[in-house]
Every structure is written in C-alpha cells, then in structure tokens.
C-alpha cells in the first residue's frame, strides 16, 4: 500500500508538472487573434487605419447651416420634412421634440472617441524608426479631435466671447477613450483653450508639405488653416490673419474656375488643388435617423438658394454655374461641391485662407493687402479677363467687400452660422426672416436661439445642462 501511495504521489506530481507546463506555455497560446480581421489596435498601422475611417471622420454637423440664411424652402416642400428639419428651419425653441440619436452631436463625439483611442494607444514613446509616422498620427488625432470639438461648439455652445470665459456653457471635453467617466460641460474658455492647444500640438507634430493623395490625412498647413478659422470665430483677427498667412506662405494654390467643365454635375475633383482637409456635411441615413436630407443633398433641387445671395453673383462669375444649377429668378439649387459630391463640403481649403487673411488685413486697416487677396481669389473665379477689380475708399469699405465675398465664396461650407454669430457680436445686427405661406419667422441678432438645444437622449443619459432658449 505504501509503495502504491508513493506511486500515486509520483503520478500526481507528474500531472501537477504537466498542468504547470500548460500554464507556462498558455500565455502565448491564448494570445492568438480570434479572427484575422479583428484586432486590438496596437501598431501604428492599426492607428492609421482607425484615422482613415472616412465613414466617421470628415463629417461636419449641418444644423448650423440649416439654421442659416443661404437658402430657403417652399412651403409645400417644408411640409414634407422631418420634424427636426422643419423646426430647425423656423428656429423653434424645441427642435428635436424628444427624438434622440442626433448625428449632429453623436458623430463629432464619435470622432473624438476614435481620436482618443489613437491618442491613448500611441502612448508617449515612439520607436526610433517610426518617429515620423508616430508624429503624423499624434498630430492627425489631435487635429481631428480639435476639428470635432470646434464643430460641436459652433452649434451647441454660445459663440466665443471674452465676457463668457468662465461661464460653464462650453462643450463636454472628453480627452480619453474610456466611456465610463460622466460627461460635464466645460467653460467656454476651456473649450477654446482645448481646441487651440490640440491644434498647436497638431501643428507641431504634423508633417510639412503640400496636400497629397490622402486628403483625409491633415498636413501642417491644415492645422494652421484650422487655427486661422478658430481664431476668426473667436474674433482674434490678428492671430487668424497670422495663421492664414503662414499657411498661404507654405501653399497658396487656387483652382482657376475657367479650367472646370461647368456642364458637369460635379465639376470639382476630389483631389483638387485647394482642398487642405476633406470633409463634408453629415448626410443620408446615418444610424437609424435620416439626417437633414434636404441640405445634405438628398433632394437638393428642393433646397433653393437665397435670392439675394444668388443675385450677388455677376453673370461673369463662374461660381454661379459651378456652385449652383442656376435657374432664375429664385429656383436655383445646389450642385457638386469641393467634396466631389452633391453633399456640401465642410473641410478646409485655400480660398478660405485668402478670405481670412483679407479680413484680418481689413480689420487691421490694411485695405491694400485685403484687396490684393480678394483680387487674387476672384481673378480665378470670374471668366478670364472679366474681373474688373474692386476699388475701395476705406478699410471699412474693404471689410464690407471682404465679408460680401466671403459669403459668396464660402456659401454652403458650414461657415455661415458661425459668421452670423460672430458678425452680430461685432454689431452687424442681422435679423433673419423665413416666410412660410405668409407666416413670418424671425431670428433676432444675438438671440438665445443661436445656441441649439442639446439632444434629449444626451440630456437624459448624462448630467449635462441644457441650453436655455426662450
């Protein structure tokens, strides 16, 4: 019996050893990927693939443009619209009427999440061989996060104003991918500080050079262009001018519209010379709720261009037939955009930089510089040799010209809403009016309604305070 016991002990020992061996080798064994198309992103190429997701990135909210004054709907068409589009059109106090899943909020925050996954994953120490790629990824992720934060802030937070710096009506600033911590609103100062900080770092990390075959991957000029746009929205005109200038110094190409085929539905190519960062309006049925089909181009013949805006284009101005299907007197509608699609463009392009630099110059009372940029731009927009050139008598006149040309050049680029908020703060005193079957709706300058309500599902699932709209 004792011998047997010893034997048993030996056998048991063997089994224990076997199990131990299994345990020792199982680390590698259990680390195999369950499927070749799935992975926990760890390599730089994995992160590049996340940032290359153009179904998530490169999409901008449309609620601002929908609330702005570049277009109008006929009453019968307005009647067929979705509740939210109807409400946004007439600046109703409650736009969503209980309906959640709003892509205007969700998609930019999804961009923030994707960018945060990359930023969290990249860590701080790149290998010596991969510094360039690491820098490009770090810079791109920061740029994309800032781009999303800025877009959200233009719709759901009050316009930047030094008097509001400590008011907690900024947007939630999620800086890590972990979804567990609750969201809370930052102050307006924090919101813009974060955007500028991200863009400053992006400018540092992003590679220099001209826009390349990947217009979804930002280069340094794109970060500078974005900084110019952000500072402009903050009414920090000298900084806006400086960043626009840096960018244009590095890259200043413009498309000569005379080279475009105006008969085509989409005359401007995807890899056109001006686009620095490609983005377009949120469109179609994103998620479960169809989104602003009218503006996003789903039924674009029904989105009529504001008559005054349309009339402001000279017959020799090619933008009239490249941006629009020109059907006088007030039946014109949208045509292909810089996104090479009937979906409007929402990215960054050099033409905007000329206008920012011009506005900065005008506001710095440098009318000559301002008008030089306008001339450069418009000579590429009018039929060759037809642009007569502006003659201005004062910097105020120059500024008015720049602002008029800004609206004409950058219509349906997702910029008008921000401009309205900014220019009204500067004292433009623009009142917007909609006429539906004889009923007039108005939006007073600097109204609370310039800040759109936060979607109801966000409010109910978080502790975020709703915007006040009376």
């Amino acid at each position: 019996m004792d011998l047997d016991r010893q034997h048993t002990v030996k056998q048991l020992l063997l089994l224990v050893i076997l199990v131990g061996v299994l345990q020792a080798c199982h680390k590698g064994f259990l680390d195999a990927k369950p499927s070749t198309n799935l992975e926990v992103p760890t390599t730089l190429n994995d992160f590049q693939a996340i940032l290359d997701n153009t179904t998530v990135f490169g999409l901008v909210p449309t609620l601002g443009e929908a609330s702005a004054d570049n277009y109008f709907f006929t009453y019968p068409y307005w009647l067929t619209l979705d509740t939210r589009e109807k409400n946004a059109y007439v600046w109703a106090v409650d736009i969503f009427q209980g309906q959640g899943g709003q892509q205007d909020w969700n998609t930019p925050y999804q961009q923030v999440f994707y960018a945060n996954v990359v930023l969290d994953g990249l860590g701080s120490k790149p290998g010596p061989d991969s510094v360039a790629q690491w820098n490009a990824l770090e810079g791109a992720a920061l740029f994309l996060r800032a781009f999303a934060f800025y877009n959200i802030a233009q719709v759901f937070a009050p316009a930047y104003d030094t008097s509001l710096l400590n008011v907690p009506l900024g947007i939630p600033l999620r800086l890590h991918a972990d979804i567990n911590p609750p969201s809370s609103r930052s102050t307006i100062g924090q919101t813009y500080q974060q955007i500028i900080q991200d863009l400053d770092s992006a400018e540092f990390f992003l590679p220099s050079g001209e826009p390349n075959a990947y217009r979804n991957r930002p280069v340094r000029i794109a970060a500078q262009a974005m900084l110019a746009r952000v500072y402009l929205s903050m009414r920090s005109y000298s900084q806006a001018r400086a960043y626009a200038d840096s960018a244009l110094l590095a890259y200043s190409a413009l498309i000569d519209y005379n080279t475009l085929d105006t008969t085509m539905g989409e005359p401007i190519s995807l890899l056109n010379a001006e686009t620095l960062y490609q983005a377009s309006f949120l469109s179609g049925a994103v998620g479960s709720t169809p989104y602003l089909l009218a503006l996003a181009g789903g039924f674009y013949p029904s989105t009529r261009i504001d008559t005054g805006l349309m009339q402001s284009y000279d017959p020799n101005d090619l933008r009239r037939v490249i941006y629009y299907n020109y059907k006088p007197p007030d039946l014109s509608d949208l045509k292909g955009s810089y996104a090479n699609s009937f979906v409007p463009f929402g990215g960054l392009a050099t033409d905007e930089l000329y206008l920012i630099r011009a506005e900065g110059a005008a506001r710095a009372k440098d009318a000559i510089s301002a008008m030089a940029d306008i001339d450069t731009l418009l000579s590429k927009r009018w039929r060759t040799g037809t642009f007569p050139g502006y003659i201005v008598g004062s910097w105020q006149e120059a500024l008015d010209t720049v602002l008029l040309e800004r609206r004409k050049e950058l219509a349906f680029r997702g910029l008008r809403w921000t401009d309205l908020r900014r220019l009204n703060a500067e004292g433009a005193n623009d009142t917007l009016i909609r006429n539906l079957n004889g009923t007039l709706y108005t939006l007073a300058p600097n109204s609370d309604l310039y800040v759109l309500p936060i979607p109801p599902d966000v409010i109910s699932l978080s502790t975020i305070a709703q915007n006040v709209r009376d």
Binding site: S35, V40, D52, G101, Q111, I464
Partner: protein, 1144 residues
C-alpha cells in the same frame, strides 16, 4: 429477491451433506431455530448433547443469527452450517465434549475479476461480497479487486437489475470472470450516462440527465442524428420557425438563457466538442445520446454548458465476443410538398388588382421607360392596348387566358418530385480477452423532393482498444471519416412574384418570364451584339451546377493506465479536420453569367467590348477547420471509507480550433481546362441598362479564425450506504477571447448536488413505490459571446476608403468590466418506480437564471458610443420536466407507454435599452427584448374594427380610436402594445406508445405543443402593388361596402397604397393565432425473425421495419389552416420508409 435464492442454496448443500453423514454414522441431532443467535444455538446443542462451549472474549457480539430446521444430522454437520458465514470458527473436542469457538484466522487474499452482463458489457457498481468479511464494488469497466481475509469458499455477487449469484472463490492467482443475468421487470434500470468526461450510473447521480439508448435512436429513420432525438427527450425543443438574424437556435435544451451570446447547445462526440457539421455523423454509428440538463450534469463543461450539452457516444466492440456483423438498409420515399399550403392571391384576383392599378395610373411612370424594372405580362398587355399597338379584344383575350394559369402547377411538375433516400450501413464488431474492435461503413444517397437536389454521404469509422498490459495499460484508437456531396441546383421556386407565370410550354420547353428587365426590352436589346438576356426559370434549373463537398475526419488516441486499485490516469488526444468546398459554377448559359456579361458590355460607337469575359463564372467558397484536443485526466472510482464509494475525476485540457474561410471568383472560367481570364477590377464600366458606372464585382477574400481554450476541471460524486449521494464540480476555462483582460480570460464555474435514495432507508415502507429518490443541485454554467471584448477592438473594413486606404471600425469600445455570461441553475428532482416497474418516471423543477448576459444599453452619446454591449441583462426561466413510463402485459401483448411533458418559459428580467416606440417591437426579424417578457415574444397593436364608412382599419392611440397609423406605429405609449404570447411553445412533449405481440412491434409517437402564438399573413396591399408580395386570399373577404365590417376584419383596398395602414393591420391583434397543436409524428411497425424461433434461419436476426414520418396534425387551435410549425414555407411532406436489419 436475494433471500429465497440463498435459502435454496443452503438447502441443497445441507441435503448433500446429510447423505454422507448417514453413511458414516454418529451422533444425530434434530434442531429447529428461527433467527436465533449463535449462542442460543450452542445452548440448545448443549441441552440436547451435553457438549459445552467456550469461546474467545466478545465472540457472541460479532456472531450472526442463524435459521434452520433439521432432523437427525450430525453435530459436525450442524456446526458447519451454523459457522458458515460467521467470522468465527469452531473446534470440536469430542473427548472433552466441548465446542471451542475462535475468531476466524486472518489470511489476506486478493481476488481480481470482472463482472459483465449477458452481452458481455462490463457492469459497474456490482457488489462482490465475501460473507462476513469484505466487499468490493466493480468499476465502470467491470473490474474489481476484493481484499479478503477469511477462507470462506463462496462469493456473493449482486447488482441492481441483475440476478444475484453465488460463486466459488477462484484458486489463487486466477481471475474471476462472471456473467450476471439481467432481471426481467427490475425496478428501475440504471442507465449508463456519458458526460464526455466520464460514464456513470444515473441512479448514483444527483444531476439531471436524459438518455436516449440505441433502440430509441433506431426507432426513427433519418440521415441526420439530431432528427432522431426530436420528440423522445424531455425538455429538448426543436424550434421550427427560426427567423434568420434573431440568434435563435434550432434546438434548445431547457429554454433560453442568453440574448446575444451563443444560443446552441454544446455537442460532444466521443469526449470532445464537435466543431463540424452534424450531418457528418452517421446515426448508424451512434450507440447512445446523453443530454446534460442541469448544473451538476453540465457544469463539467464549464463555459460551454450554458445551453445544455448533448453527448453523442459512438459504438464500440465488446470483449470476448466473436465477430458480429450487422447490416442495415432502408429506403425512404417522401410525398411532394404541398405548394398550395401558403395562401396567396389567385391569378384572377391578382390580375384584377393589376387592372385596377393600371386604371389608377400606377404604371404610367414605368411604361414609357423601356429599360426600367420588369413589368408583368398583364401590365405590358394593358400598356399595349392603351397605346394602341394591340387590339383591345385581343389584349383582353390574352389577359383572360392568363387568369387560368397557375405557376404552382408548373412548379409542381418541373421543380418538385418524390424524395427518395437510401441508407446502407454495415458494421463488424467483436473482441478477444484483451481487445475490442468496431468497424463500419455507411452510404447514404438522398434524392430531395426538389428536382436536381441530391445528397450523398460515405462514412467510415473504426474503433479499437487493446490491453497493452492487461488490466494496467489500455490503448484506444479510433477514426471517423465522412465525405459528402450536396447538389444545390434547385432554388425551390422561380423568383417570379406574379402567380400566372408560365414556366414551360406544352412540350416542356423552358419559357421566359418577366424578371428584373422588361420582356419587350430583352426581346430586342443589343441588336444581336449581346447574349440572350431572357430569364427562363426552368432553363436555370437545368443549367445550374452548384455543389457542396464536405470532407471531415477525426482521429482519436486514448491511453488509460491503472495506477493503483480504483485510480487510473488517462490521456486523450483528438485531431479533427473538416473541409467544405462550395462551388457555384455559372456556365455561359446561366442567366447570372449572361446578365453580368451583358451589363458590362461596352459599346464604343458600335465597337463592342466585354470587360466581363464571355464565359462561365466560378464562385467558390472554401472553409476549413482543424481541431486539436488534448486531455489529461485522473479517475478514481472505488470505495472510500466503509460503505462509501467515490467516483472522482480531475484533469486539464487544451483545445485549439483553427479555421479558414476563403472565397474566390473566377471570370471566363472554363471547367474543362480549369482556366480563367483576368479582369479589370479597378476601372469603372458603364452599365448597359442603367448607364451608371460600376466596378466588376470582386469576390476574393480570406479570413482566418482561431478559437483556443485551456480548461481545468474536477468532478466528484460520493455515495454513502448506496443511498446518500453528494456531488460537486469545479471548472475553470480560459480562452483567447480577444482582449478579455488576463485575469478575466478565465471563469471559474462550480456545481454541487445532493441525492437521497429514500426507498433504501429502513423506515421506508411504501411497498407500492419501491424506488424513490430525491435529488437537488445548484451551480453555474457558462456561455461565451465571442463578439465582445474588454479591450478596444477594431475590425478591418472589407472595402478601402475613398483614398484607397484600408480603414477599420472600432467595433467594441473598451470595457474593463466585461465578464463572461453565467447561467445559474437550481434543479430539484424526484425519481420513482412502482413494483415491477409498472409505472416509473421522474419529475423535475428548475430555475435557470442567466446572469451578466450581454445586452445592449443606451449610453450618453457624448462618449462616442450610443449603444453599449455589456453585461447588463438578466433572464430567468422556470421549468418543469415530467417523464412517465409504464410497462404492462395485456394478455400476450406487451404495452409500454412513455409520456414526456416539459414546461419552460423564459423572461427577460433586466434589460436597459427600451426603444423609442412600439413599432420596434412588432418586427419578428430583430431581437427586441422587453423587460418582464419572454425574449421572443409576439406583440400586437390593439384592433378597433373597420371604419364602417371606408373600411379603414382602426387602432387605439393613447386610449382613443385612431386612424393615424403613423402615430400608432410610432407611439411611445407602451399601453398600446399588447403582449400576445411567446414565439416558442412553453409547453411541449410527446406521448409514445409501443406494442409488442410475438415477433411484431408497433410504435407511434404523438407530439404536442401548447401556449404559443404566431402572426399570420394577410393582404398587404402596398406590397402587392409594388410587386413584393403575393398577397393573400383574404383579399376576397375585404371590406367593400358599408356593413361589411360586421363580418370581416380585412380592410378595404385603397389607392394609393398606404404602407402604414397595411403595416398597422398586419401587426394588429386580429392576425394573431394560437399555435397549440397535437400531431402524429411517426409510426413504426416491425417484425423479427430470430434464430431462436426459426432454427433454420441462416442469421441470428432479421429485423424488418416500416416507418412513416410527418404523418400529420391531429388537432390545432387555429382555424386559418396553418400548421404552426410552418408559418412560412411548406410543411415537411410525409415520408414512408421500409428497412431491414440483419445480424449475423
């Protein structure tokens, strides 16, 4: 039962001895004692003979009482008898007239042996008793080792279900081989159940098992093994109305306890989970199936066991058996399916609707577009009449002729046939004293009831076990090979919606139908430069060349080494590999190839080019799995402490299943040469009909998968006094689930159980119920959801982005709190049998709770994620399983009957996501759990009759009658949503009766399902208008005039069609029907010729059988003519099989 035998034996011994004594002469005694103590007997002897007795201290206490009645026997004879079975011996001192009593001298011997039944199957759990001394219990392999100290020459061997035997002790060193005769009419036959890790007698178990033996498996004739357990196992439900995309399993064991996790029971074939297609297993090679239902039974499978475990044990040879050959063959023929089962609009009604739509101008936008989507022949004719190209009388004559055409006639004639399945199976089995073997070959040839669809299967298996060192080291090897071909040439329909399509002319030539493109367009398009663009369903059927080839094999190696008595070590290894190759070859004659070639044909100013080459197209999908399983295990099965017996296992196993899925497309494929032509996948080509630009479809992809597991487990059962049972198990599983945190890769799961065989207690006196056992178990099973991960997981998108760069989607946000799903099962059971086993059965009640189930929860979208998949849901099932069987002799007829009754209803107890409106819960094609209701539930909208003025349906919106269908469907008032019942039957079971008379056997099985509901289809005008639905004869009952609302619920026909109006009607309570039904599933009739009855028979047995299946519904609750098992599709046709089994 044991006592009378012993008495007879004693009597015989005594009679023999008496004769000898008479011959020798001597002192004779007559004495009679009844249950007297030995001391009393010695006192009586002293009184009669004067012989005094002396003994070592304390002997009377250990002596056993004796009973006898003898006249005139010698003193020695009497004493021999009295000291038999005593731990004492005597010495007769005649001179001193004393009897000295001593303790029996100790002399240790070990007796080894094996106990088997008449079939030479080992008997485990038999008691081998050396009277008054020692006892041993045989192991599962029948082996025992008895350590005895005394020299009593006899051994008593008893086992439940067998006649007891008394045998002489074998001479030293010789092995005892003993065959026990099974007792007829034994109380309760103990079944040997297999868990995949060990075998055990179910009467020693605490858990819940269901066992299907070989006879029951062979009762049914089928190609697939799973079909054979339908209706013969309690709590196993075959779900017939599984909707794709809703994560339903076709087989559920004890209901449902997961939402998005794996819903299928684990299938184990010979020790290891089987990852291949179950069709690869030939039922002829299956010995038995065990179903593990509760925690104690299934927890040994840990994280795989949450949905129950089905253990398939294949056949093997037997020790000491001459080669036995068995041959089984059957032919099954099936009726054609009933094409008229699904009610659709008659051709005439359909044409009426088309004419009505034509008058309303519905087709006006389509008619002027020659290259637009297909229009039906009637619409084309009406168009020609309207634009004057066809004479009106002529046109209407043609239309009226079409009213008499019914596509189903052509389908029935050209697409369907009687099915014919042939099965052949041959096996040889046997064994010597140290080896056993089983070899089999099977061939199945099935001709489906769809013309040109076939299935062939060849199976080969072999199993061998060999005692390398007798009773010390055993080697087992096995292989199983399956090759099958499935021909999938018949799409089971014509892809044509309109009911008057003519598929063939009178000579059987294929006719073109309107399909995708308009007939007048395809008649003329291309001016001879394009391939024929007509679509002829019958030609498609004849030209189809689609085949699935499966090859699957398994190799098993097992080693068992006996370490010491009761303890052995085992190592098992299984290698499995399966390849499937699905080839769709579209020859240049098929519409698929012609259409693609034509669409991509480029016309550059009259110069035609063909970017899709003019040739065949080959679409091939190859899937492969390779499985490696290794297990090391220790088994202990022997007595432990006095009266106790321990059956314990412990071990570790590694599983690795590597898969590869690959698809290939080849253009211009020439099957004769295997050649193909490269195509330009990059450039855009203008489509011939639409003018849009598209790339040539690209079909090449490859994905590799890897499933790896590492598990540790132990399971123990301790039986005390044969009536108290305690069981427990622990298992830990670890896997390569992507990114589950290291410390959560594994999940420990456990179970515990108690059993009490009440009827073995001394105080138990229920003679009517001689077998009664109570058992209760508690524990956790697990389930795996391979779609979630604790780490951020990205999935590479199959197509690149706009800039031709690969991009990925984040499919899983980081979830550090992720846990594996668990299923907590509490089971209480009662087993009983009446005397002679006339009535027996078991009753079980269980509560099954799914905990930490993966569910969807809404999350603040600011996080970047709006729906979160995490451990947020819970479910609970309550269930009852009742099995009753009765065995009766009615004169010469033997009748047995088995009633199975199962009740199980699940309820989602916690679910965080509630969708915005009631509309989401009406769809049956998505999973929409609602807390408090079964996972799969039928919901409906309240019905308030038809509007008497218009025939519009009316519903309820916020308590008020409403015809605002959009608002009713989009209401967020959940009071307007009516829960009608579960999709799957909560009550189901069967009643099987078998009769035996002489060599005849007759058996019939009746299945029933109760307590569930289904939604029947009615007319959906909107979809009929768009050509997406074939409608319903309810059309004839539609509201047409005021007053009709008194006797119909079918809304009036309106133009234009209003989708929401139809949607409301289709989802209203009036179309919900009860599913309850009783059906006669099958009948089997058999006749046996045995060698016993017919001495001249050249074989041992000829078993002839006739089997009818899917015989029909006996009763159903709904009056709509719908078989609730086939709400969509057609019921399985009846089949009739004739077969024979010959045993040599």
């Amino acid at each position: 039962m044991r006592t009378p035998n012993l008495a007879v034996f004693l009597l015989c011994v005594c009679l023999i001895k008496c004769r000898i004594v008479f011959a020798q002469g001597g002192v004779l005694i007559s004495l009679s004692e009844r249950n007297a103590s030995l001391e009393k007997v010695l006192q009586d002897i002293r009184d009669q003979t004067g012989f005094a007795y002396y003994g070592e201290g304390g002997w009377p206490e250990i002596a056993r009482p004796v009973s006898f009645s003898f006249k005139n026997v010698t003193l020695e004879q009497l004493l021999d008898l009295c000291f038999r079975d005593q731990p004492l011996v005597y010495k007769l001192d005649i001179p001193n007239r004393t009897i000295n009593v001593f303790l029996r001298p100790r002399q240790e011997r070990v007796i080894n042996g094996i106990i088997q039944d008449e079939n030479l199957e080992p008997i485990g759990g038999a008691n081998i008793i050396a009277p008054g001394d020692a006892s041993a219990i045989s192991k599962d392999d029948g082996q025992f080792a008895l350590h005895t100290y005394y020299s009593d020459p006899r051994l008593f061997v008893t086992s439940i279900g067998f006649e007891s035997q008394v045998v002489a002790m074998p001479p030293d060193g010789q092995k005892l081989v003993l065959t026990l005769k099974s007792k007829v009419g034994e109380m309760k036959e103990a079944e040997v159940v297999h868990t995949g890790y060990q075998t055990m007698k179910d009467n020693a178990a605490t858990g819940s098992f269901d066992f299907v033996d070989n006879d029951l498996l062979n009762r049914r004739v089928s190609t697939n093994i799973m079909d054979r357990i339908d209706g013969v196992t309690s709590s196993v439900l075959f779900n017939k109305n599984v909707v794709l995309g809703t994560n339903q399993s076709t087989i559920t064991v004890r209901g449902r306890s997961t939402i998005y996790g794996n819903p299928n029971p684990l299938v184990v074939v010979d020790n290891f989970p089987y990852p291949g297609d179950l069709n690869n297993i030939n039922p002829a090679d299956v010995e038995s199936i065990t179903i593990l239902k509760d925690a104690a039974a299934a927890a040994i499978w840990g994280a795989f066991s949450g949905n129950g475990v089905i253990v398939i044990t294949t056949r093997k040879g037997r020790l000491n058996q001459a080669p036995k050959i068995s041959f089984n063959s059957s032919v099954t023929t099936g009726w054609k399916p009933n094409l008229y089962y699904q009610p659709i609009l008659s051709s005439s009604d359909y044409i009426d609707i088309e004419e009505y739509l034509f008058q309303q101008g519905y087709y006006s936008p389509s008619l002027p577009v020659p290259n637009g989507p297909a229009l039906t022949p009637v619409v084309e004719l009406l168009g020609q009449v309207a634009n004057g190209t066809l004479d009106s009388a002529d046109g209407y004559a043609q239309i009226n002729a079409l009213r008499k055409v019914d596509t189903r006639k052509d389908l029935d004639r050209y697409f369907y046939q009687h099915s014919l399945n042939s099965q052949y199976a041959l096996n040889v089995s046997g064994g010597g004293t140290q080896d056993q073997y089983y070899l089999s070959a099977g061939y199945d040839q099935n001709q489906a009831n769809l013309v040109r669809n076939e299935y062939d299967r060849v199976t080969l298996t072999g199993k061998n076990s060999y005692q390398v060192i007798p009773s010390k080291l055993e080697l087992t090897t096995g292989f199983a090979f399956t090759a099958s071909s499935t021909y999938l040439n018949n799409p089971a329909g014509s892809d044509v919606i309109y009911p008057y399509a003519q598929l063939a002319d009178a000579q059987g030539n294929a006719l073109p139908v309107a399909y995708q493109l308009r007939l007048p367009y395809v008649d003329t398009v291309g001016g001879g430069q394009l391939l024929d663009w007509h679509y002829r369903p019958l030609q498609e059927l004849r030209n189809a060349d689609n085949k699935l080839t499966l090859t699957d094999y398994r190799i098993d190696i097992g080693l068992r080494y006996a370490i010491v008595k009761g303890l052995d070590a085992r190592i098992y290894y299984q290698f499995g590999r399966g390849d499937s190759d699905l080839v769709y070859y579209y020859s240049p004659q098929t519409w698929f190839a012609r259409n693609l070639i034509n669409e991509y044909t480029q016309n550059n100013g009259g110069v035609f080019s063909f970017p899709v080459p003019r040739g065949g197209i080959l679409d091939e999908t190859m899937n492969t799995y390779t499985a490696n399983n290794v297990r090391a295990q220790l088994n202990y099965n022997d007595s432990l402490f006095k009266h106790g017996r321990l059956n314990m296992i412990g071990g570790a196993e590694v599983r690795d299943i590597e898969g590869s899925d690959r698809t290939n497309w080849l253009y211009g494929y020439n099957p004769g040469m295997g050649s193909s032509v490269p195509v330009d996948y990059v450039d855009l080509f203008q489509q011939y009909t639409s003018g849009a630009y598209q790339q040539i479809p690209y079909g090449d992809a490859k994905i590799g998968t890897s499933e790896r597991y590492l598990s540790y487990y132990t399971n123990a059962e301790y039986t005390y006094f044969g009536r108290y049972m305690v069981s427990g198990s622990v298992r830990r599983d670890e896997s390569n689930l992507l990114g589950v945190r290291g410390n959560q890769k594994g999940v420990p799961l456990w179970s515990a159980g108690l059993g009490w065989e009440l009827s073995r207690e001394k105080f138990y006196h229920l003679d009517q119920l001689p077998y009664l056992k109570l058992r209760v178990t508690d524990g956790y099973n697990g389930n795996i959801d391979r779609s979630v991960s604790a780490y951020t997981t990205a999935s590479i998108n199959t197509a690149p982005n706009r800039y031709n760069a690969v991009f990925s989607n984040i499919v899983n946000p980081p979830n550090p709190d992720l846990r594996w799903e668990r299923v907590h099962i509490v089971n209480a059971g009662l087993d009983f049998a009446t005397a002679g086993n006339r009535l027996g059965g078991s009753l079980e009640y269980y509560i099954k709770s799914g905990i930490d189930l993966i569910g969807l929860s809404p999350v603040d979208p600011t996080t970047g994620v709006s729906v979160f998949q995490g451990n947020t849901a819970n479910m609970q099932d309550h269930g009852v399983d009742l099995t009753l069987h009765t065995d009766n002799d009615l004169g010469k007829v033997h009748w047995n009957s088995v009633v199975l009754f199962s009740y199980v209803l699940d309820r989602v107890t916690k679910y965080n996501e509630k969708l915005a409106d009631v509309g989401y819960y009406l769809s049956s094609s998505t999973i929409n759990p609602l807390a408090g209701k079964p996972l799969y539930s039928v919901y409906a909208l309240r019905w308030e009759g038809l509007d008497p003025d218009s025939g519009n349906p009316q519903g309820l919106l916020n308590g008020k009658i409403s015809r605002d269908y959009g608002s009713i469907l989009g209401s967020d008032n959940f009071h307007d949503l009516v829960y009608k019942g579960p999709v799957n039957p909560p009550v189901f079971g069967s009643w099987r009766n078998s009769f035996y008379w002489k060599q005849w056997g007759l058996s019939a099985n009746i299945l029933y399902k109760f307590g569930y509901v289904f939604r029947r289809n009615s007319i959906f005008y909107y979809l009929v208008y768009t050509g997406a639905s074939q409608g319903s004869p309810d059309y004839e009952k539609r509201w047409q005039h005021p007053g009709d609302e008194q006797h119909t619920n079918v809304p009036s026909m309106t133009y234009p069609g209003v989708a929401n109006r139809d949607e409301f009607y289709q989802n209203s309570t009036v179309l919900i029907e009860k599913g309850d039904n009783i059906r006669l599933q099958d009948v089997q009739l058999s006749y046996d010729w045995t060698k016993k009855a017919h001495a001249r028979l050249p074989v041992q047995l000829i078993h002839l059988y006739v089997y009818g299946n899917n015989l029909g519904i006996l009763w159903k609750a709904n009056h709509a003519g719908i078989d609730p098992d086939y709400v969509t599709g057609m019921p399985l046709p009846r089949t009739l099989a004739v077969g024979v089994r010959v045993d040599y």
